[in-house]
């Protein structure tokens, strides 16, 4: 009864392209490309210097991409990528929605992300990133009244260079890893948020990343700073057109939480996964890290990863402040020929730091799913605690699930727990549901959804339903 069969081959709903006039820099990467990107953004000297340092470091790495991950793909030709593509806009970046190309607004509408403030997502402030640039940010004025800065990264470089200078690379230095280094050299846009001391951000902040242009790579950079005693919940969503050629997405996200601050960061990742035969799809090679710098600060990652041909990401927390808390909640689904190697790192530095990891991996079709996690307790982290739970669910008999936990404890007072399980949707469960009149397909979704419930509960409610829908669409054709 569990034998998977293709009932309906699901169509990737977000695979359309938008026809807009784009400004595109020639393919290839060299110092001139970087100077050009920096010039287009009218960046201050320090930014260009930083980019160039990163680029020179990247050259020294001599194409030494990380090879330890359990993913397989052909060599990427870094000279065959467009590093900057932006819709042509009348002014230096749009000042209001009226100035945004209507085609782009329509594209975001179609994606279910209307940018008008009185819409379905009323109450969510959105920064919309289209290829290499942010095209619009909503609710900026509302947020500004409380001193909250939410804008594109490029705008932050212009208006708040002191914050950028202070925090850029403070969590993920440009020397961190191959893809983070590449990103540091060529990143084009992304979101920036700063929450002032004591302010609880009154709405969800969201960035929606859309790749449109063919042959481009998207290299965005997000920086969120929660000042003392503040709170922010941030969400990102991502999609891309269906294309036969793989596209590279190498982002960097840095989070900083000061004393008593809390950042909740949620991701619904639905990049084009490639077709049923494994052709095309996005290579999602991303470095995400938060620094719980202040005492009693908290950083919580929640991710629902259903897209991309290959996912390589480990949203991590450096638990530096005493009593700080790090969390990682993840659902990673692979179907057809998708590969995911994802997990987290919890680095316990401060005293009585606490981390929780709950990872749910779902493998279907010929997908291959690996959880990779590191829990490291440093000598000074007296009383540190970690709880890790990794559950894998297999659908069919041609997929793979792997769990690779690394645990390093250098303080005798620390407590570390690890639990892992692998299961299948059992015939008994399916029969039970079907005996109540529920179809095999719905029964599968129900059971799989139940498996992920703990993680969906961590999402802002507006997106919990969407996550469950996403799961359903991504699994179509795998169960029945």
């Amino acid at each position: 009864m569990t034998t998977p069969q293709s009932l309906i081959q699901s169509e990737y709903k977000y695979g359309f392209t938008t026809d807009v006039e784009q400004e595109v820099v020639p393919k290839g990467l060299n110092e001139e490309t970087i100077r050009l990107i920096s010039r287009k953004k009218n960046e201050p000297e320090f930014m260009l210097d930083w980019r160039l340092k990163a680029y020179r470091h990247w050259l020294k790495l001599e194409r030494q991409e990380p090879t330890w991950a359990n993913v397989h793909y052909p060599t990427i030709d870094f000279q065959d990528i467009i590093y900057y593509a932006a819709p042509v806009s009348p002014s230096e970046g749009p000042q209001s929605l009226d100035e945004v190309d209507p085609e782009i607004l329509r594209a975001f509408d179609k994606l279910g992300i209307p940018l008008e403030e009185q819409s379905r997502l009323a109450g969510v402030a959105i920064d919309a990133v289209f290829d290499s640039v942010s095209v619009a940010t909503t609710y900026k004025e509302t947020l500004e009244k409380q001193g909250i800065i939410f804008c594109s990264f490029s705008e932050a470089v212009q208006k708040h260079p002191e914050l950028i200078r202070k925090y850029l690379g403070s969590v993920v230095p440009y020397t961190d890893n191959f893809y983070a280094t590449l990103n540091s050299a060529v990143f084009s846009d992304g979101s920036f948020a700063y929450i002032p001391p004591g302010v609880r951000c009154p709405m969800e902040l969201m960035t929606y990343f859309r790749i449109n242009q063919a042959d481009t790579g998207q290299f965005e950079r997000t920086l969120i700073i929660a000042d003392k005693g503040s709170y922010v919940s941030y969400l990102e969503g991502c999609t891309a057109p269906s294309r036969k050629k793989n596209q590279l997405h190498a982002a960097v996200v840095e989070l900083i939480a000061l004393d008593d601050a809390e950042i909740k960061y949620s991701t619904l990742q639905n990049w084009f996964p490639g077709d049923a035969d494994g052709v095309g799809g996005v290579f999602n090679f991303v470095t995400k890290r938060g620094k719980a710098l202040g005492r009693r600060s908290k950083i919580s990652w929640t991710q629902v990863e259903t897209g991309s041909a290959i996912t390589w990401k480990y949203p991590s927390v450096i638990l530096q402040g005493d009593d700080s808390v790090g969390e990682f909640y993840s659902v990673a689904l692979v179907n057809n020929y998708q590969q995911a190697d994802t997990g987290t790192k919890m680095l316990h530095i401060g005293k009585n730091t606490k981390s929780t990891i709950v990872s749910k991996g779902i493998s279907a079709g010929r997908g291959n799913n690996t959880y990779r996690g590191l829990v490291k307790i440093l000598p000074g982290a007296a009383g540190a605690q970690n709880y890790t739970q990794c559950d894998s669910l297999l659908i069919g008999d041609q997929c793979g699930a792997h769990t690779v936990p690394y645990i390093e404890v250098r303080n005798p007072t620390a407590r570390v727990e690890h639990e892992a399980s692998t299961s299948k949707v059992s015939d008994d469960q399916l029969f039970y549901c079907m005996q109540r009149g529920i179809s095999a397909e719905d029964a599968h979704f129900m059971i799989i959804n139940g498996f992920c419930k703990e993680i969906f509960n961590e999402l802002p409610w507006e997106f919990a339903v969407e996550a469950s829908q996403l799961l359903k669409v991504s699994l179509e054709g795998a169960v029945g």
Binding site: M434, R436, G437, A440, M446, I447
Partner: protein
């Protein structure tokens, strides 16, 4: 409503049912009694369409149609309900949502619109009261962490909500204490209607003190060896299955000899 003719069933090559005949009409309550391993649960599972069992011969008509040709979910939508002996757990699937999905799947099959949420909640509250159930159980994951008795009651709640035409109760009494048994039996009695039927599979006759059967059948070694009225259950109580087995052997011997 249900006509079983010469039903033979095997699991993994071993024959469990060796020619069962049974007719159940609307408005009737039947009890099937038998010792462990006699094939009682096999019978209910086969009727419900559990793919783990293979029908090797025989025929089953349900409401005039070929039951064995229907997939399990269609049987359910056509009003056949099995109260499981060992209900499974569905972690993370909320009991209430599960039931609502089931109700709407059945309604869709009957060309009805999905039930409005508030109507469903009302129905659910009504049935919770009928079964005297702890209402917090519907907010929890299906059967997860339920006690044996809670699981059985939950089965009865589902039955009450889904209002089947033919209900098969597989050892529903096991795991229930005497008070719970009485409550469940009262609930079942209230669900009895002239247009539906109930088949109770049980080891002991104690449940039959509360749900009075019209017919009792004794299933031993894959065959129904005796059928009778309620008094048969009482006879079983006093003589045990060994007594019946002896009788049957004697009768068979006499027939062969005569």
């Amino acid at each position: 409503m249900l006509e079983i003719r010469n039903l033979h069933v095997a699991i993994g090559g071993t024959e469990i049912l060796k020619g069962v005949d049974l007719t159940v009409n609307a408005g009737e309550v039947h009890a099937i009694m038998g010792p462990n391993g006699s094939g009682k649960s096999t019978l209910t599972n086969v009727l419900a369409g559990n793919p783990a069992y293979q029908v090797t011969a025989g025929e089953v008509r349900y409401q005039g149609a070929d039951l064995l040709a229907m997939p399990p979910e269609i049987r359910a939508r056509e009003g056949l309900f099995l109260a499981f002996q060992y209900p499974v757990e569905l972690p993370g699937v909320r009991n209430r949502e599960f039931l609502r999905t089931a109700v709407n799947a059945i309604r869709q099959h009957r060309s009805l619109d999905p039930m409005e949420l508030k109507d469903f909640n009302k129905l659910l509250q009504e049935k919770i009261k009928l079964m005297k159930m702890d209402s917090s159980l519907v907010k929890r994951s299906v059967n997860e962490g339920f006690s044996g008795g809670e699981k059985k009651r939950n089965e009865m709640l589902q039955m009450a909500v889904l209002e089947p035409r033919l209900a098969l109760l597989d050892e529903t009494d096991s795991g229930l204490d005497i008070d719970a048994l009485k409550t469940v039996a009262e609930g079942v009695n209230q669900l009895k209607r002239p247009d539906n039927a109930i088949v109770i599979v049980t080891h002991y006759q104690r449940m039959l003190n509360y749900i009075i059967p019209d017919f009792v059948h004794v299933l031993i070694d894959g065959r129904i060896v005796r059928s009778g009225g309620r008094e048969l259950a009482l006879e079983l109580e006093s003589q045990g299955y060994e007594g019946i087995r002896g009788d049957v052997a004697a009768t068979a011997g006499a027939e062969a000899g005569g």
